[in-house]
């Protein structure tokens, strides 16, 4: 009997893993399409509209093209590491989806199924750890290419991520002091009952947002690939699907950080002004997932909107902003939050 339950759990989790991985791949695929469409619309163009209705098959055509491109591994590269780079980038990008609560519990086949692969009690730390690992993909790939432009791109990526991870972490600490938990699921439940964390932590959210732009290597922080100074940056030497993996990993990262931001600050799968308990559980879970996706779409649009508006920072500006503006600001935010929490525990008496 115990074994049967265990089997069901394994099957349930396996299905969930497959769905989450496939969904994040599919969403990343259509994010590339959306990127081109949004860019086109913001620039008074039409964007891809030839492949399929409204150009909807364009990402498939792009993927197919990448698969058929010639696979070039430079003679002077470290072959094993050269292949490891994009693989690692892709792997870490997909791995982050594991701890994200995609929706509420659903009741299916007589079982309560949580729409989360693993409710780890250090969920947000896990996300941070894996995202930081992601830079190894870029570093290793750029180092293995044995090309000065690649190496420069890789160095930039590494230093950029280290600089902004700090501010991001500190802004998160303020949030953790507020919620008192590291589990993403817990945070969502708290926000369902109370207000969204964005209301308590507007500055924290703002710092987090800027840092996630930097973490995803998105404009205005896309210095690692700065195509007009570094050719292609870390993926200069890459071609075919290995290049595709790098680009794809970037879009998955963008998707995941949108999900993280929605979960941490905007209530995750919470539908505002609605008491979920009054309605059917399964339907509410479904609408919850849709609500999360709507928030994510909003964030992804913001990513693109910013990309097609602002030019890239200069490198010293980037470092200046990371170390001398965002980190002090995040520390300040943390202090204020701490002081207020302390005051509240003291019933607003000094």
């Amino acid at each position: 009997m115990l074994l049967a339950i265990e089997m069901a759990l394994i099957v349930e989790k396996l299905v969930l893993i497959v769905v989450v991985v496939m969904a994040s791949l599919g969403i990343a695929m259509y994010t590339t399409f959306a990127e081109r469409k949004v860019a086109a619309i913001l620039q008074d163009r039409r964007g891809p509209n030839r492949a399929g209705p409204f150009g909807l098959l364009q990402p498939l055509a792009d993927g197919l093209k990448l698969f058929f491109k010639e696979e070039i591994i430079p003679d002077f590269s470290a072959k094993f590491l050269f292949i490891l780079g994009p693989a690692l980038a892709m792997l870490t990008a997909i791995m982050t989806g594991a701890v994200i609560p995609w929706g509420n519990q659903i009741h299916f086949f007589g079982r309560d199924i949580s729409l989360q692969i693993a409710d780890v009690n250090v969920g947000i730390l896990y996300v941070f750890a894996v995202v930081s690992l992601g830079v190894y993909g870029i570093m290793i790939g750029s180092w293995a290419s044995n090309n000065k432009f690649s190496l420069l791109g890789g160095l930039r990526a590494a230093s950029q991520i280290i600089s902004y991870e700090l501010a991001m972490g500190i802004s998160l600490i303020a949030l953790l002091m507020l919620t008192g938990t590291l589990s993403l699921k817990e945070m969502v439940v708290q926000q369902q009952e109370g207000y969204w964390n964005f209301i308590y932590q507007p500055l924290g959210f703002f710092i987090f947002l800027i840092c996630s732009f930097a973490e995803c290597n998105r404009t205005p922080f896309d210095l690692p690939e700065a195509e007009n100074e570094l050719i292609g940056g870390y993926h200069t030497e890459y071609s075919s699907m290995k290049l595709g993996f790098y680009l794809f990993a970037e879009y998955i990262n963008m998707f995941i950080s949108s999900v993280i931001m929605a979960t941490l600050f905007f209530g995750g799968y919470d539908i505002p002004f609605l008491n979920e308990a009054n309605y059917d559980q399964n339907w509410m879970a479904l609408f919850g997932v849709l609500a999360l996706m709507a928030k994510v779409v909003g964030f992804i649009f913001l990513f693109m909107w910013v990309r097609w508006t602002i030019p890239r920072f200069r490198y010293d500006q980037l470092m200046h902003m990371g170390w001398r503006i965002l980190i002090p600001l995040a520390l300040f935010n943390m202090l204020i939050t701490g002081a207020l929490i302390l005051l509240k525990q003291n019933n607003w008496h000094f």
Partner: protein, 184 residues
């Protein structure tokens, strides 16, 4: 010093205020500008489905004209070839047999008539030179092909569709342009 043009603009070297220094206002303004472009009309024309309206004097690919009964107008006089500054036109003349009166308007006709569209500069001088109303520049443009030799259009490719056997295609080839009166 007096400026030479009215485009002179003094560079503002004042220290930036705090709001300017954090850039957020400027970024927000920029984002509003890009956002407003979402609602702007797109100037792109979806080309193969839609084409730009042509002026009535547009000069596209050539057509060789027929009369109302479908007989070829061209008499292979060679005036178009002489007028052609790009030397794109070649032709060979032949004499009409008595059994061919329904094919050719006059007793001499072009057995071979070729225009090299890669040489042609679409100046329309052939059209002006033609005394028999036989050659016109149509509204068709952007010929495309895989090989250079396929750009040498022969008579069959240049001839307008037959007006009685294929009236719709004939009408289409004529286009909806106003027939111009010859300028003297």
């Amino acid at each position: 010093m007096e400026a030479l043009t009215n485009r002179l603009k003094q560079v503002d070297r004042r220290k930036m205020s705090f709001l300017e220094r954090i850039y957020l206002v400027a970024i927000f303004k920029g984002m509003m500008i890009t956002f407003s472009h979402i609602f702007k009309k797109k100037p792109t024309i979806n080309y193969p489905e839609k084409t730009r309206p042509f002026s009535p004097v547009f000069r596209g690919l050539h057509i060789l004209n027929r009369d109302e009964e479908g007989r070829e107008n061209c008499t292979a006089c060679g005036l178009c070839a002489v007028a052609c500054p790009a030397e794109a036109i070649t032709m060979e003349a032949a004499e009409r047999q008595s059994s061919e009166e329904h094919l050719y308007k006059e007793e001499k006709y072009a057995a071979k008539y070729e225009i090299n569209m890669l040489r042609c500069i679409f100046c329309g001088l052939c059209e002006e030179a033609c005394p028999k109303d036989a050659i016109y520049l149509s509204e068709t443009f952007t010929p495309s092909d895989y090989q250079r030799k396929q750009f040498i259009y022969n008579k069959e490719e240049l001839l307008i569709p037959h007006p009685t056997e294929n009236p719709e295609a004939y009408k289409k080839a004529l286009g909806n342009r106003v027939k111009r009166e010859p300028v003297n």
